[in-house]
Amino acid sequence: MVFVPHTEIDRKAMLDAAGVDSVEALFAPIPSHLATQLDLPAGISEWEVERLLAERGAQNRKLSEFRRFVGGGIYEHWIPPEVPSLAGRREFMTAYTPYQSEASQGTLKAIFEYQTTIAALTGMEASNASVYDGATAVVEGCFLALRHTRRNAIAVSPGLNPRHQQVLRAYLEPQGFEIRPLEFQNGKTNENQIIGNDVAAVVIQNPNAFGIIESLHGIVEKAHEAGALVVASVNPISLGILASPGEAGADIAVGEGQPMGLPPAYGGMCFGFMACTKPLVRKLPGRIVGEAQDKNGRTGYTLTLQAREQHIRREKATSNICTNQALFALHATVYLSCMGPQGMREVATLCLERTALLRERLLKIPGVETVFDAPVFHEWAYRTPRPAEQVLAALHEKGILGGVELGHWTQNSFSQDEELSNAILTCATELTTNEDIEAYGSALEEVLR
């Protein structure tokens, strides 16, 4: 087998040295009746496996075959070519967690830079090295708050991505924590509601799951009055122009990192970012890199604050996370380095512009109406007289991915609402063109005719 480098001579010499006369003898510690042969396909050549994957791939319909207006947590943005080229360098790919700092300054500096960019973007003071994805970042944010406040309830805005709400439930249930919804009107979290004294954290998403820009400042005030922390789940691209969680006074900022230089990939190339204020640093989950000195006064970088982690604290750790999403965080670091503050502002501005133009175009169509009348960032929900499922299917036939069906998506979440049954969540980004918008408009006109 090509990945095992031993020649017959090697194998013989090694068996001899190990004091056995056959490979089978190496497995002597295992009861022999447990041995088995797998009923799997036989091995094939690289060329055959490449063909096999291409064949499977050909059974998908790729985004590039469509004009597309689909977001709902995963977004298509321009990925500077430096991102995959540099983050994909095999030294980065084939290293592991930098346990031996001196040999891994490259990875460690990159993580330190990642932490700095995430702190800068979210307006927070510290960041960890990533968690699995946006949903588990929300979860980890809530656990942090629960630990910090020693309270037992979480108040969640129905504007939080409905899937994230469900994941939060799956994680909080086993330990018996309570989740309750915040008041929500016209597509926005009510800024003036009273937060209960047992609430560890208020979780609010911005822009929210309906694309609407939330007023963070108000809810932060109310939460803090009640002694609760605020976990703000944010779209990182929006932070080019929208107030950062830090500016709004939030304590913990989390979010899905995929928009920062990663492709949609069926949602399979995600990472969760997680930042917080200084007082919470020692309760953050996951890897954290810090600056350190060697005995000659040279500055280096190293994994730090490990007393939080599972390999030291075991069942008392701040999280069970071990392997994280380092490589994708690295993609984001390259992305943010390419974009800089100016690029982030511009890409956010382009998203805002395209979404406004899309909204104007669709609202010209008789029967199309806005679901909530509030400023949006790069997603916007509309309603037609026809069931959303049918509208989307008809658009699909015309080569348009029209958006997310809100009725289905919000099922089993606090976001569920009668109002949403005919609603479609559309999305435009800097990659949306005039032709795309016009094509959507005329296709929808035909569909609704």
Binding site: A18, V23, L53, T94, A103, P174, P263, Y266, A317, C338
Partner: protein, 508 residues
């Protein structure tokens, strides 16, 4: 020359992006937003040119030791070669261009890969149903334990204890806690195996599960696994398999056949996907048929010959990820599995165990406290023998001795496992895992993997021999190592006391 942080290249006004043009140059859409929605200070991101980004990241990559550049026998991590064909096949598959909100009809090829992969992993583990969603081993553990918890609740029972050996990986107890279960540590025999007799006293009506890694974290196979399974089952509990070490057995032995009920795999270990400097991984969970209803949503169902995502599973523990976990890792692992096939997989474990035993036998000639008998895919060496004082000589026989300083009180410096690790860096080798499992004092856990040549192993033995000699003759050389890296040993204590976690100067 060591590369500075990218922030140190930053100059106001520099940039490295291009973006599509505005469509409407007349209107200012930002101005239309309420003022308190708007960011006040631009984020302090690096302001650099394209050349800056490229040169910086290229250099950082060169400052990173990796499998592609070095031997990396990090125990418990299975740092085997990551085939490049998996990168190419993934690109050819076209995963990048799929969106999770596309209708199921658009992603039949992907759902077919998922379906096949679930079946393959069921076969590999000897269990019945698989969820590919967990993002890493630890999330797999949480899912597995949450499934067990729900299944036990469904039985109407109230078991809330998870038994974990003292040699277990840290994620095991941490995941149990996360799943709302109480951790009870069970002791090991002197060799490091589960103390089967002692086990009985821990098995009671509170016990939901026993979690084992097999081979365990010392690289030893739990030879009484069938007895253990019987006892656990008899006590009404379930047996959990932490698959981190499956590379020792893959293609030859199966957790299901040993009596395990639930198991997670680490695709980033056994199935050769890149570790990415810390992740992503993938930690699929396999269970017996009766536990299938509790697996996370979505599941895949076939309706009229089409694959469909099924969220409507009332007994499920719920979704545990915003989407479908680390899909790119799953597709790579699928590629690897198909490439190797049943024959190749059996060769993997054979050669992984052969390499470990060859290396073990060679090192045993140098270090007396090396795993004595046959090991599986990895083994331990205790380096207490490198401390000079007679006091220490005797301590080297006892387990769990620890201590943070070098020096034995009477002048002769002690060379510790960490020193040896650092010295290996000077010799161009990534050190094995040190101080895990804590069961071994001054321990190294060495996992060569099957993809390394005999010459590479011999070179490692020579390096260890050299270091042993140095430890006797010029211990400062070892204690002061590494000498050839861009920084020397870093002051971890100082770093944790006053944490500097971001490049602060950038914050105005």
């Amino acid at each position: 020359m060591s590369e500075a942080l990218i922030y140190q290249r930053s100059r106001p006004g520099r940039y490295a992006y291009t973006l599509p043009p505005r469509l409407d140059r007349e209107r200012d859409f930002t101005a239309a937003l309420p003022k308190d929605f708007i960011r006040k200070n631009p984020p302090a991101l690096p302001e650099v040119s394209k050349v800056d980004v490229v040169r910086h990241m290229t250099r950082l990559s060169q400052e990173t030791i990796s499998i592609d550049s070095h031997f990396y026998p990090l125990g418990s991590c299975t740092m085997k070669h990551n085939p490049m064909i998996a990168d190419r096949a993934l690109a050819g598959f076209g995963l990048d261009g799929l969106h999770p909100h596309q209708p199921d009809g658009d992603v039949q090829g992907l759902l077919k890969v998922f379906t096949e992969m679930e079946a393959y992993l069921a076969e590999v583990t000897g269990l019945d149903a698989v969820s590919l969603i967990p993002s890493a081993g630890a999330q797999g553990e949480f899912v597995g334990l949450a499934v067990i918890r729900k299944a036990i609740q469904a039985r109407g029972e109230n078991r809330h204890v998870v038994l974990v050996p003292d040699t277990a990986h840290g994620t095991n107890p941490a995941s149990a806690a996360l799943a709302g279960l109480k951790v009870v540590v069970i002791p090991s025999t002197i060799e490091g195996l589960v103390d089967v007799d002692a086990l009985d006293s821990y098995l009671n009506d509170d016990v939901a599960a026993l979690m084992l890694t097999n081979p365990n974290t010392l690289g030893l196979f739990e030879k009484d696994i069938e007895t253990i399974a019987q006892k656990v089952h008899k006590a009404g509990a379930l047996l959990y398999y932490d698959g981190a070490n499956l590379n020792a057995l893959v293609g030859r032995y199966r957790p299901g056949d040993m009596g395990f009920d639930v198991c997670h795999l680490n695709l980033h270990k056994t199935f050769a996907t890149p570790h990415g400097g810390g992740g992503p991984g993938s930690g699929p969970v396999a269970v017996r048929a009766e536990l299938e209803p509790f697996l996370p949503v979505p599941r895949i169902r076939t309706v009229n010959g089409e694959y469909r995502l099924d969220f409507n599973r009332p007994d499920s523990i719920g979704p545990i990820h915003g989407n479908w976990g680390n899909v790119a890792v799953v597709v790579r692992a699928y590629t690897y599995l198909r490439l190797l096939g049943h024959d190749g997989l059996a060769d993997v474990s054979a050669s992984a165990v052969l390499n470990a035993n060859y290396l073990r036998a060679q090192l045993a000639k140098i270090f007396p406290n090396t795993t004595p008998g046959l090991c599986m895919h990895e083994f331990t060496v205790s380096l207490t023998c490198l401390s000079k004082s007679p006091a220490n000589e005797s301590a080297s026989k006892s387990h769990k001795q620890s201590g943070n300083g070098n020096g034995n009180g009477n002048g002769a410096p002690h060379v510790r496992a960490m020193d040896v690790a650092k010295r290996l860096l000077d010799l161009g080798i990534h050190p094995p895992t040190v101080y895990f499992p804590t069961f071994i004092s001054e321990g190294m856990l060495i996992e060569p993997t099957e993809t390394e040549t005999k010459e590479t192993l011999d070179n490692f033995v020579a390096a260890m021999q050299q270091i042993k000699r140095e430890a006797a003759e010029q211990p400062e050389l070892v204690i002061g190592a590494p000498h050839t890296t861009q920084v020397g040993r870093l002051d971890d204590v100082g770093a944790a006391r006053n944490p500097v976690l971001t490049f602060c100067c950038t914050f105005q």
